[in-house]
């Protein structure tokens, strides 16, 4: 079947069996290997992407359900996505990626793309960045390296920086912390 959708704001059209997993379409058909597979059954969250802003496990989403929707992956986060000739540097990252880098929220890095997408959804939700709320937001994403400590710290740091930026811009709102 033919499916049209967007990935990181780019229109995409694929002609594939409708049961093919969004994860495989991203990784194998579109070459976006930033999204990882950890279990293939929706337990680990490594393959987390945003579908119209909502957190989904892309291993559980058949491509037939993606038509007309907007997919966002880790490749859509940085202001300038690196390529082979221009590898990513610390200054090329968005506020959440930068916070992960500074706090040590990424160790082996395999859960990181999914964790970042869950974190992005949390930042966009406007919920106060309490310890408990952040833990809830990433409860579907397993990490075996960090004990989650520095991931939580990273998301809180990004939330506070986002709130500060909004305040400076004179439009206090959703990201502000209570």
């Amino acid at each position: 079947m033919t499916v049209r959708f967007t990935v990181n704001d780019e229109p995409v059209e694929v002609n594939l069996p409708g049961v093919r997993r969004l994860l495989d379409v991203l990784r194998e058909d579109l070459g976006l290997t930033g999204t990882k597979e950890g279990c293939g059954e929706g337990e680990c969250g490594a393959c987390t992407v945003l579908l119209d802003g909502a957190v989904v496990d892309s291993c559980l989403v058949p491509i037939s359900q993606v038509g007309g929707h907007a997919v966002r992956t880790v490749e859509g986060l940085a202001p300038r996505q690196p390529d082979r000739d221009h590898p990513a540097g610390p200054d090329d990252l968005n506020v959440l990626q930068r916070a992960f880098l500074e706090t040590g929220g990424a160790q082996c890095g395999i859960c990181t793309p999914g964790m970042l997408m869950a974190g992005e959804a949390f930042l966009a939700s406007g919920l106060p960045a309490t310890d408990e709320a952040i833990r809830e937001a990433i409860a579907g994403n397993l990490c075996r390296c960090t004990g989650y400590t520095k991931i939580i710290e990273a998301i809180a740091l990004a939330a506070s920086r986002q709130a500060a930026t909004r305040q400076e811009a004179g439009r206090p709102g959703a990201g502000e912390r209570s």
């Binding site: 990784r27 930033g34 090329d92 990252l93 040590g104 395999i110 390296c145 912390r177």
Partner: protein
């Protein structure tokens, strides 16, 4: 960690900016803050954070086929044959069996007992028997479904205590144990059982083999030890050094689980690649990884401790049985480390330790962070905590009396001359956790009748528990001498400084700390130092990336190489290295320094008598856990862990904290929820839906205290860090559960079922006036 607070986490605001750093350590990130003791940004961090870091499954090889492993479905059987359905068109795929292996059908490790592909006898469930490769996954599945193993069942050995096959055994004694027990006025006995634990790296095992024009093979994989894989390929495929090339892809966690297993996987992929003359991808899914790859060894530890009337520890008699599974793998060294650590960090004049690792018809067990020590130190700490209860003294105070101090002698006769921080880690943790104050509060709460917290009808018990541990840094005994590791640094002709080591990055920070150490030794900024990829065609054998040895041993070699390079260049140029090396490179071409491991001065171990310095140095750790236990359901919530870890010298505070936090949570999982259930030698819960690890909601707040008691044998004073936290948190959690419930859980994990069973047994025992031998201290 920087989020503080000991009770609950309901809507607690996250405190920012981070708390005050450990004195002397600067957590501030930034490339300009590179020297050891500071925290430069993780070198490969931006690639990982943008999804551009390439893990094995991200690598594209045009025309690659997919590989699959045909595995046994029995724990033990005679293998009569591998049958290929004649109705299937086999010309479209390739099949490999034991008969197709050019060299010895052996996975190179300690003993030559494990076949690459089974023949004659199947010895465990999920044992590889045949391999299939096909150009696409659908055809691969179809082909695999047409392969049948013809077998004749044999009776499996599943109980380690009934096994007659011993892979390794040790007996270690000092003093006179019988005389020690004769002097004892209190004897505490216990039997402790700990089960399998899965490493559960989030990236499954993965390997891609690519045939080479020279008749050899190049493998790209997720692995910890490129030269282990290299040796295994050379031996069984009859290749020269150059014909076997091993390249580490970005590796999504290891924790020991990618120490030895990648060798067999690389052999499988390489055999298929030879057969189909194309690249072959073997990327395990989670089910296969859980069902077939190594786990932490289950152990049964039987322990007797004797205490004199004046409160001295006078005797320890310890027996350890580890279940190795069907093949030897690394079991002799896992057992050795477990044996050497089983007394715990306490001085005792009369010690006897007997241990054995035995074969069962279960999948082989192998390396996992801690490597035998978490199993035996759990037992050691349970004993000390139970003795404290029996003596009615604080577990903190009892440890202060008994712990190793400089000048003490271990059961192997090793005199602990320096770098002994048992007391410091204990005191730092106890102070930060306010151990005695909280312990008094939990004791008071227990005496309140019908104590209820929260609004539910559930009764919640709150408890605090303490543990102390030691962990030998580097390989056991003369292991480092045998490894003869090499690390190199090269000033290239175009003026780049490149570190060349076989030490791998798997998240712990090798790619960041080695450039830090080199930059300091050379007096250059960290950005001036490059780190060569872990490719056996480029880098020397620096030994495996295991045993908490990378920062201490290989880091020390990197410093040594850099110091020599600096001296060579400064001698030639007459000026400081930093200002003269680019011109030196132009004038003299490349300069490469290979630094070879030299035994640490004064460190000697006799492998035959098992006497001497078992480790060049020990790291020390204390953990204090607070838990809430639902007294009606037995469910445990670990609220907080304060961890104080002595690592010799902190090279990178943020990475070091990350090691402690991650290891602590793995130990909390080990203590509470991680359990492998077996039936007829097969893992029943071989899926992530059924083998559970802690989520962010299960994880306690972890506060890390880094302690520095430098080891003079290493140029930078660093000891190990990776494994220490794994040794200590589980017994702390179980002690906290006891504080909350009054029952000791002798077997891990301390599941709700075990806690409820122990509580009801205690109630029944109280009614019948029949306290069990294991719980002599009586009811609260």
């Amino acid at each position: 960690m920087t989020i503080r607070g000991t009770l609950g986490r309901a809507a607690a605001p996250v405190i920012l900016p981070p708390d005050a750093p450990t004195p002397g350590l600067d957590r501030t990130p930034g490339l300009d803050r590179a020297p050891p003791g500071r925290s430069p940004l993780r070198r490969e961090g931006p690639a990982k954070l943008t999804g551009t870091a390439l893990y094995t499954d991200d690598l594209v090889f045009p025309g690659a086929w997919y590989g699959h492993t045909i595995r046994s479905t029995e724990a033990r059987a005679r293998l009569l044959g591998v049958e290929l359905d004649p109705a299937f068109d086999w010309s479209r795929v390739v099949v490999v069996t034991a008969a197709d292996i050019p060299g010895p059908n052996i996975v190179n490790l300690i003993q030559d007992d494990q076949p690459i592909l089974a023949f004659g006898e199947i010895r465990h469930h999920a044992e590889p028997v045949a391999l299939v490769a096909a150009p696409d996954r659908a055809l691969l599945r179809e082909a695999a479904a047409h392969v049948t193993l013809r077998t004749e069942p044999l009776v499996p050995v599943l109980d380690p205590l009934a096994s007659g096959q011993v892979f390794a055994h040790y007996e270690l004694s000092t003093g006179d144990v019988a005389a020690g027990f004769a002097e004892a006025s209190l004897v505490i006995e216990g039997e402790y059982r700990v089960g399998h634990q899965e490493q559960l790296y989030i990236e499954n095992n993965a390997m891609i083999a690519v045939p080479r024009d020279d008749g050899g093979v190049t493998v790209h994989g997720s692995l910890q030890c490129p030269y282990y894989v290299h040796k295994a390929l050379r031996r069984s495929l009859l290749l020269t050094d150059a014909q076997a090339q091993v390249i580490q892809a970005e590796t999504g966690g290891g924790f020991g689980g990618k120490e030895e297993y990648p060798s067999i996987l690389a052999l499988h992929a390489a055999l298929l690649a030879r057969a189909c003359e194309r690249p072959v991808r073997m990327i395990y899914d989670r089910h296969e990884d859980l069902a077939a790859t190594t786990k932490r060894h289950p152990a049964i530890v039987t322990y007797r401790s004797g205490v004199s009337a004046d409160g001295r520890l006078v005797a320890q008699d310890i027996e350890i049985v580890m279940d190795a599974g069907a093949y030897c793998t690394l079991s002799p060294v896992v057992l050795s480390r477990g044996t050497l650590h089983s007394g715990g960090p306490y001085a005792c004049p009369n010690v006897r330790i007997r241990s054995r690792a035995v074969a069962t018809n279960t999948p082989p067990n192998g390396a996992f962070r801690g490597f035998g020590a978490p199993q035996t130190e759990f037992a050691a700490e349970m004993q000390v905590n139970r003795i404290a209860e029996a003596l009615a003294v604080s577990p903190l105070e009892l440890r202060r009396r008994w712990l190793y101090r400089p000048g003490d002698t271990t059961p192997t006769g090793q005199v602990l001359r320096e770098s002994v921080a048992a007391e410091e880690v204990l005191d730092r943790a106890a102070e930060a956790a306010e151990f005695e104050r909280v312990r008094a509060r939990t004791a008071a709460a227990r005496t309140e009748p019908g104590h209820v917290t929260g609004h539910s009808t559930h009764r919640i018990g709150h408890g605090i528990g303490l543990a102390l541990a030691w962990h030998g840094a580097g390989f056991t005994g003369s292991g480092e001498v045998h490894l003869a590791s090499v690390a190199s640094v090269e000033l290239t002709a175009d003026g780049r400084i490149v570190i060349l080591t076989g030490s791998t990055e798997m998240g712990q920070g090798t790619k960041t700390i080695f450039p830090q150490l080199a930059a300091e030794a050379l007096g250059v900024p960290i950005e001036a130092v490059d780190f060569a990829p872990q490719d056996t065609a480029l880098v020397p054998d620096s030994g495996p990336t295991v045993a908490s040895r990378t920062a201490m041993v290989v880091g020390g070699l990197v410093i040594g190489a850099c110091r020599r390079l600096r001296a060579v260049v400064e001698e030639r140029s007459g000026g400081p290295f930093a200002g003269t090396y680019p011109a030196d490179a132009r004038a003299h071409g490349p300069t490469r320094i290979d630094e070879h491991f030299e035994p640490y001065p004064g460190v000697e171990f006799d492998d035959t008598t098992y006497r001497g310095d078992a480790y060049p140095a020990f790291g020390w750790a204390s953990a204090i856990a607070e838990v809430d236990v639902d007294l009606d359901t037995g469910e445990v919530a670990v609220r907080s862990v304060v961890a104080a870890d002595d690592v010799g010298r902190v090279i990178h505070p943020v990475l070091a904290e990350g090691q402690v936090e991650g290891g602590t949570l793995q130990a909390v999982g080990y203590a509470t929820i991680e359990e492998v259930k077996l039936h007829d030698g097969r893992y029943l819960n071989d899926r992530l839906a059924t083998y559970l690890i802690p989520t962010a909601l299960d994880a306690p707040r972890i506060e890390t205290i880094l302690v520095e008691a430098p080891f003079s044998g290493a140029p930078h004073g660093a000891k190990g860090i990776g494994e220490l936290p794994m040794d200590v948190a589980a017994p702390a959690v179980v002690a906290a559960i006891h504080d909350a419930t009054g029952v000791w859980i002798h077997d891990l994990p301390a599941s709700p079922e075990r806690i409820l069973a122990a509580m009801s047994a205690k109630t029944a025992g109280k009614t019948a006036g029949d306290a069990s031998a294991g719980d002599k201290a009586g009811p609260r």
